[in-house]
Subunit: 268 residues, 2 copies
């Protein structure tokens, strides 16, 4: 962003902070106005409804991602691919970033029901898969990568990194310092007063109280270490990217990939 | 399920149908009562709050998954692994299953804020990764697989398949026949009356109106064909599973994997 943010940039920054604090379902135009120090009536002058503003925000976030990707377009394909993988790594203390992506995930659950949101999600998907496809095609052309199925590889890489991110942000609890610490109650149980004895044991279908620990599954770490995204990103480089490389091409480290993208301003 | 479903099973089936129809955020105890032909007061006798009932439902779904996984525990490891991959394939017409998983995804977004929901999500994650780890360890022991990093491979496979599923269900619109056809409005814009001129163009950070098509990204299919999950599951077998195989072990087809799991009752 420039030194003098425009009114639109200030509003989008307010949406970002308000989504982090309140989540998609509960955030109001007033919350957003408070976060960007604008009046609610000014917001309504530009955006009729909360939906309009959130669709505009998705557009803003995706446009920002396009710009960040474009800024790396002239770098060597293998560095671009490692940077793409590293972009999806969330460290354990990235609570603000996790909180923002939880709000985005809430927005994504509206995709099937809201065509304008879905249009932005499809645009984002095409940007991400298209970026990996572009990197692969450039790298095949200049001899970095073997001939591979570009569309399939792009879908595989994007699904893998997105899946790791979704699992990390949903499985990680709040520590009172951001992600798990929304300003309002989460609404579970709203409108339903307690009026009876709970007995959730009835839900155990076969009555044996089996848990993952008691079943046939092998004991695994509570969560992948050090984080879900870092573990899966490392595996993505070793298992998916390494076999794409032409003979003699070296695989960059994940740290190199993370460093490449974090040199940009962190806005996502 | 047995021929004579228990009251608990009937209630859980009602939760399943109510979540599909209304989503997590909007579903009420009354909706669930209507779907299972019980009184709301009976539901409250067993479950104090909507949260109690939804946590019990998650427990029920995961326990059901445990039972389904256990039913295949004696099959050859490579068949089990192909079955696990095939389990995550959603065909294009799987609208009920997609609608259910959208509701589950909404529930998952509550993970950071609700410890009881998060406990169930962590249990599910350990079940899934533990199952892949168990398959890999059995297969390494009997010579089906090479020596591989079991924990890393399990995290990679689960993240990949989950990511493909999340992308498919969020990027696919309703066709008036289920998934995109909830009984109530989605709530976007609630409480915000239209009172001004919308101008979402202000959100275009750099003012060039760039889209994925106009940027540097290579043109890719609108969505992976025939579905996101099928494309990524196929890639998972070819790119992630095939390199694990010991010499002379044949890779099953994705169709074999899909058939293995669909012989069970489809409850998830």
């Amino acid at each position: 962003m420039s030194d003098q943010p425009s009114a639109a940039e200030e509003i989008m920054d307010g949406v970002y902070r308000a989504l982090r604090a309140h989540g998609y379902a509960d955030v109001t135009m007033q919350d957003i106005a408070d976060e960007c120090s604008k009046s609610k009536s000014l917001l309504h002058y530009h955006y009729d409804t909360k939906e309009d503003l959130l669709v505009a925000f998705l557009d803003y976030v995706i446009t920002d991602s396009e710009a960040r990707i474009r800024a790396h377009a002239d770098e060597p394909p293998i560095e671009r691919l490692a940077g793409f993988v590293g972009w999806f790594v969330f460290e354990a203390d990235a609570v603000d970033r996790e909180a923002f992506h939880i709000a985005l995930l809430e927005l994504r659950t509206q995709g099937p029901f809201n065509e304008r949101i879905r249009e932005q999600l499809v645009r984002s998907d095409r940007l991400l898969r298209g970026t990996v496809a572009d990197i692969l095609e450039s790298g095949i052309e200049n001899g970095t990568f073997r001939e591979v199925d570009v569309e399939e590889t792009a879908a595989l890489v994007v699904a893998t990194l997105d899946g790791a991110r979704t699992r990390q942000i949903t499985l990680t609890g709040g520590d009172g310092d951001g992600a798990g610490d929304r300003d309002e109650a989460d609404g579970a149980g709203d409108g339903d007063e307690a009026d009876g004895a709970g007995d959730s044991d009835e839900a155990d279908a076969d009555g044996d109280g089996a848990t993952a620990e008691g079943g046939d599954a092998t004991a695994v770490d509570d969560l992948p270490e050090p984080t879900y995204t870092r573990r899966v990103a490392e595996a993505t480089l070793q298992r998916i990217v390494a076999p794409l490389l032409a003979d003699g091409v070296a695989l960059p480290s994940l740290e190199d990939g993370i460093a490449a993208m974090s040199r940009d301003d962190e806005t996502e």
